[in-house]
């Protein structure tokens, strides 16, 4: 594989992202909402309002389920506010946070694959002395790198907000916990890769960027189900489940990579994509 070619393709894709106002807006606004605005508003709400009174028995059920399943020795969870904030940080916000890599990867991948086709530049790349392997590796990296960078930045932003708001209650920094470390180190990269690979599949079957985003958007459904499940107290996704999910996604990703490598050769790609 020619590294210079891969580097040139990545630099070019990053430049495209940097210059597109609509792409940049999505890539900045969505992560800020899910990693900063919602956690900040929720923690501030719990700290400064009477959540116990307004939520009533629902909150009690959630806390009871949590306390029955999880043993926490590192922080004191004596008050309702401490318990609520701790559960929110480690279970609700983590699920919500997954929307950051999914949305960013959907946007960058759709731009990278279908965007190239829509702008009629894929033709130039297929005529060039680039192997299909180099093209796919570069395109996957060009989608993965900015999305993971944004996820890391969102992780840091979440941490700052969570620690500042929760410090007065716990008298210590409670972020990052094990759940968050597994989230950023294992689950986020795996879900990013899944989103990108799914987009590669979709991009060879749809004609427009809009279509790719619409179909690719379906990947958020399991995450929304996770959020709803956790808020309703149906299940709690802790560190172990997150590690298992990461492993499952790794297997799915390897399967998708193998499938992509097999089914995409230059001729097939050209005949399907260029009209």
């Amino acid at each position: 594989m020619n590294r210079n070619v891969i580097k040139a393709l990545i630099v070019k894709d990053l430049r495209t992202i940097r210059r597109s106002k609509s792409l940049l807006t999505v890539l900045i606004i969505i992560p800020i909402i899910f990693s900063f605005v919602i956690p900040t508003a929720a923690i501030a709400g719990i700290r400064f309002f009477d959540v116990e009174g307004s939520m009533g028995s629902d909150a009690e059920k959630l806390i009871a389920k949590f306390l029955a399943e999880v043993t926490v020795s590192s922080v004191s969870l004596e008050t309702f506010k401490q318990q609520m904030i701790y559960i929110s940080i480690n279970y609700l916000f983590t699920s919500l946070f997954l929307l950051v890599p999914i949305v960013t990867a959907s946007v960058t991948a759709a731009n990278s694959f279908v965007g190239e086709k829509e702008r009629r530049t894929l033709e130039s790349l297929l005529f060039a002395p680039i192997s299909i392997k180099e093209l796919f590796v570069a395109k996957i990296l060009a989608s993965f790198l900015p999305s993971y960078f944004i996820s890391l930045a969102s992780f840091i932003l979440s941490g700052i907000s969570i620690n500042i708001l929760s410090y007065p209650l716990f008298d210590k920094l409670i972020f990052p916990t094990g759940n968050w470390l597994v989230l950023i180190a294992c689950l986020s990269p795996m879900i990013l890769l899944s989103t990108i690979l799914l987009n590669v599949f979709i991009s060879s079957r749809v004609k427009t960027y809009q279509e790719a985003q619409n179909i690719g958007g379906m990947i958020v459904l399991p995450v929304i189900a996770m959020v709803v499940g956790q808020v309703s107290g149906l299940f709690l996704i802790g560190m172990k489940i997150m590690l298992l999910l990461s492993l499952a996604l790794l297997i799915i990703n390897l399967f998708m990579l193998k499938k992509i490598a097999k089914s995409h050769d230059r001729h097939v790609l050209f005949e399907k994509q260029i009209h």
């Binding site: 020619n2 040139a8 430049r15 597109s20 530049t121 297929l126 002395p129 001729h267 050209f270």
Partner: protein, 319 residues
């Protein structure tokens, strides 16, 4: 792998001499639609071949086949003696192409586009970019996003992109589409000059016939997926021009429908069109006219590429 390629190349060279392009019984269909049928074509090194045909004749498909981005259903394609199917990557490094859509990144400047493709084609000398920008009159606009370029500027930039790596073979698909007369003149004269200096083989697809006449050394005509004729302009003229139509601007007036034994028609005042058995009768006719009249201009009407093209097509339709 290298050994196989080399031995294949030698084999082809021995069998038929090294042609820059050799198509042998190439056919291609999309679904049930036959695009190209049994195409046989050989292009010598250093030739500028004009590939002519109406829209939808299969010109673009043929260019795509010769670049190895689509596979023929049957037949073989050799580029400079190398089997395209086995050496497509190596061949792609030696080939330049300008497609109809130009294939440029609109959010990037002219310079950035060339810089990107220079990296892709392994061109290390960045002076080449400056050189091409200057050559195609794009230096002043090099920092401007290509999305804001006129069609002509995009075409010129696409041509610069195709020439970055100094290809041995250049494919141009409708290179003058969207260019104004100045742009057409500039691009065609540059291509002719470039070919003279570098010996690059150039394959031009077009449906605008008169533009190609001045630079192409040979022509091939494509009709409904088949090559119906090929040859140099001299060979084609010889074959298809049965009579010479000569337009003479003169003060001679003809009322009987013939002069000096040649049929003719008075087109307007001071303009007559003669029909001669061949070009060699022109001198004799002029001598007769000049005995008592003045002659301002003499023009051969039916030996230009366009006339030959229609002649070839009508012969094909009749057959």
């Amino acid at each position: 792998m290298k050994l196989t390629s080399t031995s294949k190349r030698i084999e082809i060279t021995e069998r038929s001499g090294i042609k820059m392009i050799s198509l042998q019984h190439v056919s291609k269909s999309f679904g049930k639609r036959k695009i190209l049928q049994d195409i046989n074509l050989e292009v010598e090194k250093g030739e500028i071949i004009g590939f002519l045909g109406p829209n939808g004749a299969g010109k673009t498909t043929l260019i795509r086949l010769m670049n190895g981005v689509i596979k023929p259903d049957s037949g073989k394609i050799f580029i400079d003696g190398l089997d395209l199917m086995e050496n497509s990557e190596a061949i792609r490094k030696r080939v330049g192409i300008v497609t109809e859509s130009a294939g440029l990144y609109h959010e990037m400047s002219g310079y950035e586009n060339l810089e990107f493709f220079a990296d892709i084609y392994g061109v290390c000398d960045k002076k080449r970019i400056e050189e091409l920008l200057f050559l195609f009159g794009l230096q002043e606009h090099q920092k401007q996003q290509t999305g804001t370029y006129s069609t002509g500027m995009k075409k010129r930039l696409a041509l610069a992109k195709a020439l970055l790596h100094k290809p041995d073979l250049l494919f141009l698909d409708e290179p003058t589409n969207g260019l104004d007369p100045d742009g057409i003149k500039m691009v065609l004269s540059y291509l002719g000059e470039y070919q003279k200096q570098t010996g690059t083989t150039i394959f031009i697809c077009s449906h605008v016939l008169h533009q190609l006449e001045s630079i192409c050394t040979s022509f091939a005509f494509l009709e409904t997926g088949r090559i119906i004729e090929k040859g140099t302009i001299e060979q084609l003229t010889e074959k298809y021009t049965k009579e010479a139509k000569v337009e003479i601007k003169t003060n001679l007036e003809v009322k009987s429908g013939s002069f000096a034994g040649f049929p003719c028609e008075q087109q307007s005042e001071n303009c007559i069109i003669f029909t001669l058995p061949s070009k060699k009768y022109i001198s004799g006719l002029l001598q007769e006219v000049l005995k008592n009249h003045w002659v301002e201009t003499v023009a051969l009407l039916n030996t230009d590429l366009e006339s030959i093209y229609f002649q070839v097509r009508s012969c094909f339709d009749e057959s």
